[in-house]
């Protein structure tokens, strides 16, 4: 373990901790352990390209990444239009990033129940443990804030010393506000729900974060065009509901804006709300510890939920009992396993949005942008957080190992891909009218045939039997090229045959036949 700079820095302020009755040496020790563990943890934002090489500096790397994002946010502050809009946007982006990062990466710190079991039984008092927790969280949030806000801070000082100071001060308040808001959010959720739901909420936030990051970059350019407009700020009462507005109001005044009634109210909000939330938090922080023990409670009975129509439809296509069993297994895993969802759902968001961009240009053919991604998602079916459980395939004497794959692929097609395909189709039909329907059906049949073809062409291991790693680039790339080639060919064929309705119908019947043969003869390709 190395010595951390933070700890050396804190050593100078030992007196403050002593004054609050904190056992400084113990707190320092706990912090040291926590920081060591954090170095070995991979932040959600870096998860996609995490190779298991050196563990060091993951945090520093993610800070650089945040600093890069801060570049886009910071540029806004150099625009010399209406400051109210400029800083509202800055704070909105800032709050969004800090809050998401915090929920995605530091929930584990906030919700760590091991602390109680491991540390408090060693005779360390709660005050010291809490001091360590707060210091730990503040350190991270403030370094992340600084990484994101660096250019914006420069920009604000360029506008004026006072603006800069107020902006800096507000960044600190906003960061603290975000910590408290997250904590209160958990307090609320834990109050009413059990631990499993809390974990699900964290999972969904992580997924949304990934999607927004991916899509966000496509829009950065457009954001700037919007902000070039020279608008005079008009106070509206609903602005009070929009926290970034509270914090930009003081800067607006410094920069020479008019002090209207709304602006005054906004400034009051900026001062009062964070303060009140901090007070509420500290009044309830004892309960927090109490509710936290809920996370450990495993009395959460999964409710036997009603299976959806897609599930029932897909099950009709399963024949042997082994196939049906694997179908249900895959359905539950896809729905429930958090690690799997974190890896796959962002891509799903992507394939919903991507075809819509090109729809107006390519008409119904842009649905093939959807189809082309399916083999890549299929690749992930091999992986699971609980990959070790796959021994069960080996110890059960299944008559036909192909049934395992059939069941899982059918679950994949019917319960994961179909619902969003139907959703996508509805949007297509709304824009392209009813004429699009036959084409969408053809693409669906093609997509369904693509699954066994991909399986035949590549060497997949048993479903959910391998560890999530940085996707072994080779196989992923191969599948992507294969699918680009096949889907490209399919789209051309569709375009040619689509010129006459009769030909299209014949093509459709041909695809159904193809599907039947391919799925029937799906065999394992395990060495």
């Amino acid at each position: 373990m190395k010595e951390f700079k933070l700890l050396k820095f804190l050593d100078k302020y030992k007196g403050i901790y002593d004054k609050f009755g904190v056992d400084y040496e113990k707190m320092r020790l706990i912090l040291k352990i926590k920081l060591t563990m954090d170095e070995r943890r991979v932040p959600a934002i870096m998860k996609n390209n995490s190779k298991k090489k050196e563990e060091k500096n993951v945090f520093v790397k993610s800070l650089l990444f945040y600093a890069f994002m801060g570049l886009f946010m910071g540029i806004i502050t150099f625009i010399s239009t209406n400051k109210m809009y400029v800083y509202t946007m800055t704070f909105a982006i800032f709050m969004f990033i800090v809050l998401s990062v915090f929920i995605a990466d530091f929930s584990s710190v906030l919700l760590d129940i091991r602390d109680k079991n491991l540390i408090s039984i060693r005779g360390v008092d709660n005050r010291t443990i809490n001091a360590a927790k707060i210091t730990h969280i503040c350190y991270y949030v403030f370094s992340i804030s600084l990484a994101i806000g660096w250019l914006a801070i420069i920009g604000s000082f360029k506008s004026g010393i006072l603006t800069g100071i107020v902006f800096l001060l507000e960044l600190i308040i906003v960061s603290a506000f975000m910590i408290v808001i997250t904590a209160l959010l958990y307090l609320l959720v834990l109050r009413f729900f059990n631990g499993e739901i809390v974990k699900d909420i964290i999972n969904y936030v992580q997924i949304i974060l990934s999607i927004t990051m991916t899509i966000g970059y496509q829009f950065v350019g457009q954001v700037f065009e919007l902000s070039d407009l020279k608008i005079v700020y008009q106070g509206k009462i609903w602005h009070l509901l929009f926290p970034p507005m509270w914090f930009s109001a003081p800067i607006y005044i410094i920069e020479g804006g008019n002090l209207s009634k709304i602006i005054t109210l906004l400034i009051i909000c900026a001062c009062i709300v964070p303060l009140v939330s901090v007070i509420i938090y500290f009044k309830n922080s004892n309960k927090f510890e109490l509710y936290l023990s809920k996370l450990n409670n495993n009395d959460s009975n999964e409710k036997e939920r009603k299976k959806g129509i897609f599930f029932k439809l897909g099950k009709q296509f399963c024949k042997s009992s082994a196939e049906k069993a694997c179908y249900s297994l895959a359905y539950s895993t896809i729905k429930r396993e958090r690690e799997f969802k974190l890896k796959v759902y962002p891509t799903l968001g992507f394939i919903i949005i991507f075809p819509l961009f090109s729809m107006l240009l390519l008409s119904h053919f842009s649905i093939y942008f959807f189809v082309v991604m399916v083999p890549s998602i299929m690749l992930t079916l091999q992986y699971s957080e609980f990959y070790k459980a796959a021994w069960i395939y080996k110890t059960t004497p299944l008559i036909n190992e192909g049934d395992i794959f059939k069941g899982v692929y059918k679950a994949f097609l019917f319960t994961m891909i179909m619902p969003i395909y139907v959703f996508e189709s509805i949007i297509f039909i709304l824009f392209l009218k009813i004429n699009a329907v036959p084409h969408l059906i053809i693409a669906l049949l093609f997509m369904s045939a693509l699954i066994p073809i991909t399986h035949k062409a590549s060497k997949f291991s048993f479903p959910f039997s391998d560890e999530f790693r940085a996707a072994n680039g080779g196989a992923g790339l191969f599948i992507l090229f294969l699918s680009l080639f096949l889907v490209g060919a399919g789209a051309v064929l569709h375009a040619v045959l689509g010129m006459k309705m009769v030909l299209l119908i014949v093509y459709g019947i041909g695809l159904i036949g193809l599907n039947y043969t391919l799925w029937k003869n799906l065999k394992p390709k395990v060495s």
């Binding site: 020790l29 491991l118 039984i121 360390v124 008092d125």
Partner: protein, 259 residues
């Protein structure tokens, strides 16, 4: 000097509506090995967690080393060693990092903790795992590390909850021998387990808890005399009012045969 190390009076605890402990009364003397047994869900772990301050309790008095545990800021815990049933660990740390951390929490210096931990790990034959991350350790290795972490600071009371789970027969012998050794030195051991043979052998006194109350408290010989049963297992069955194991097993066997 008072010989009583631990005193529990009328301890009750409820989780919401459910009453888990319904008036526990217990006194433990210095140098005793107490076998704390009972069916699943009887309240064994709950009692231990309450003594360690991991759970709050509804009513009653608990005195450790003659002092109420609600007084003071938990300093008494420095003289306690604890092996929980399911030990959570900071798994991204190495064995060395974890053990020195625990030692330092108890107030030992880093060097002393390391020296002690290393010596014990060598004796347990896991010295070569000193720099392995805990996530990569096997169940038995982790259990040994948890045991070591509970002993580093030379505690006066040990609370052990299934301490032998995952250990091989040789290590089990070491631990058993170690426990009687420690008791002879005047340390108190609170041993809770489902393996009756072990409890029968090592305990000076056996405390049986059922439905949140103590239903038996005495040496193995005393219990045997009272219940006229031969083994602790039989006594356990009798006192917990369980005599259907044959019928249940028969029904199960017939269900298995149905397919």
């Amino acid at each position: 000097m008072d010989n009583k190390i631990l005193e529990i009076k009328d301890l009750t605890k409820s989780f919401g509506e459910k009453e888990v402990l319904r008036g526990i009364n217990l006194e433990v003397n210095k140098g005793e090995i107490i076998g704390y047994i009972g069916p699943n869900g009887a309240g064994k772990s709950t009692t231990v967690k309450i003594i360690l301050g991991l759970l709050d309790y509804s009513d009653g008095v608990i005195k450790v080393f003659g002092k109420d545990i609600r007084d003071g800021n938990g300093a008494y815990k420095k003289r306690i060693g604890y092996v929980p049933e399911v030990a959570e660990l900071y798994e991204s740390l190495t064995a060395k990092e974890y053990l020195t951390f625990v030692g330092e929490l108890y107030g030992l210096s880093e060097e002393v903790s390391y020296k002690k931990a290393e010596a014990m790990m060598n004796l347990f034959d896991i010295g070569n795992c000193m720099h392995t991350r805990l996530s990569a350790c096997s169940k038995g290795m982790k259990q040994k590390i948890v045991l070591i972490s509970s002993l580093l600071h030379n505690p006066d009371i040990l609370f052990l909850d299934e301490p032998l789970s995952g250990l091989d027969a040789n290590s089990v012998m070491i631990i058993k021998e170690l426990l009687s050794n420690l008791a002879a030195q005047g340390k108190t051991i609170f041993y809770s387990s489902h393996i009756m043979e072990v409890v029968e052998k090592i305990s000076h006194r056996i405390v049986l808890i059922n439905n949140g109350t103590i239903v038996a408290n005495g040496s193995f010989d005393e219990l045997k005399k009272n219940s006229k049963e031969g083994s602790l297992e039989d006594i356990f069955n009798q006192l917990t009012g369980f005599d259907k194991h044959k019928e249940i097993a028969e029904t199960m066997a017939s269900i298995i045969n149905e397919v």
